[in-house]
Symmetry: C2
Subunit: 220 residues, 2 copies
DNA sequence: GACGTAAACGGACTTTACCCCGCTTATATT
DNA sequence: AATATAAGCGGGGTAAAGTCCGTTTACGTC
């Protein structure tokens, strides 16, 4: 009874060798992502290349998608740093509307840079799971919305919808190929239009427009 | 040279036995979905229960996800019927704003009823593929937006974002369990709130609110 | 420093998605 | 009706995901 101080919630820290192996596996996975490519990143191959047993890989990550989730989570830490304590307008200090726009654009950029990993992190039999990025994204958006003095609104739902509007296009609907080339002028469509901005720019501008429309104080 | 009339684009109609087998497989899949459940719907089991070869199943649907996509596509036809020629406000005849709201709510309902199928239809190494629902959803939303006299806006992108705001919560972020029970009062959060509407209602109201905000004519 | 325990490890085993290719059959043509 | 041809069919084969359990190892306790 000398040390019951630690709350029951903490199941105990991860063992040192386990932590070391997790790091080593992540590093190996990243290397394989570069060389043989994501498609060839199999559990067996990863285990062998890391010099560990397959059981270990599964114990650490649970599933193939889990590896990509862990990689994404890892990458996300730097991003979160910027959001929580970086310079404005992404970090604190700017008005909430500006921060919201900046956040969306930064996240679009982040997802675009990591789109291959993000796609493979989807599971299909599972919502995007706890450890991963999304809850934080949702919470951050919710918190900024709360500072925004909208009228009566269900902020939880609105934040969910905006999170989806941010992630969905890149995760669900835009094919990877649609983003890679700078739009090779598919066909002379109706209306000449002002050139062909890269899809990233269009989505990014679209976010700004969406938020601006939503945050326009309703004319009551 | 007597019949080169048919354009090259039509690769030729599906053979009669193939069409019959497709229907039979879909029916069998639906039956299995009800009895052994989606998890036990394996390719082998489906083939055996349908009395066909495994190769046939793959030829017809391409992959496991393809089966669920085909099922969803099938269900979607009735839904599309309502949208294209059903009674207003879902069908034609109502003002575009009302139709847009009604469409979103109908689609939320549709996705909620078919959420298990829809989840399994996700692929992860592929955007939602051609045959499936999404392009039509996107196009319909885009068309209604176009009638809505917003200011200058990138309607393609906006439609994409709204489609994601509609599908995303149910496909990516909300766990299935979060939707099944009528919210057992998780914890006494801040603010008593007006009871606990079912999550479906919240998402549905949220859509209405989102669209209303977006469509509010900007006060220029 | 020895000991007990719970966590971690490894790799054989099982299951399942997906491929392949020789055989069968529908359909168009004459 | 006979034939040619391309589509469809079947089911055995491969590889990769995920499970299990006997063995090993880190860490807290005395």
């Amino acid at each position: 009874m000398t040390e019951p101080l630690v709350s029951i919630g903490a199941p105990r820290a991860e063992r040192a060798d386990a932590a070391r192996n997790r790091q080593h596996l992540l590093a190996t996975a990243r290397a394989m992502l570069a060389d043989p490519g994501a498609a060839a990143l199999t559990m067996d191959a990863l285990a062998e290349r890391a010099g560990l047993g397959k059981g270990t890989v599964f114990r650490r990550f649970g599933s193939r998608a889990g590896i990509f989730q862990a990689l994404l989570d890892d990458d996300e830490h730097a991003f979160q740093e910027q959001v929580l304590s970086g310079p404005p307008p992404l970090g604190p200090g700017a008005p909430p509307l500006d921060r919201l726009i900046a956040y969306g654009q930064a996240r679009i950029d982040f997802l675009l840079r990591n789109r291959e990993i993000a796609r493979h992190a989807l599971d299909g039999s599972q919502p995007i799971p706890a450890g991963s990025s999304s809850p934080l994204s949702r919470l951050h958006i919710r918190s900024l919305l709360a500072q925004l003095d909208l009228g009566p609104a269900d902020l939880d739902v609105l934040a969910l919808q905006l999170t989806a509007a941010l992630d969905g296009p890149l995760l669900l609907y835009l094919s990877t190929e649609a983003l890679d080339p700078p739009a090779p002028a598919p066909a002379p469509g109706p209306g000449p239009g002002p050139g062909h901005p890269a899809p990233l720019d269009r989505v990014s501008r679209g976010w700004q427009d969406l938020i601006t429309r939503i945050a326009t104080p309703n004319p009551s």
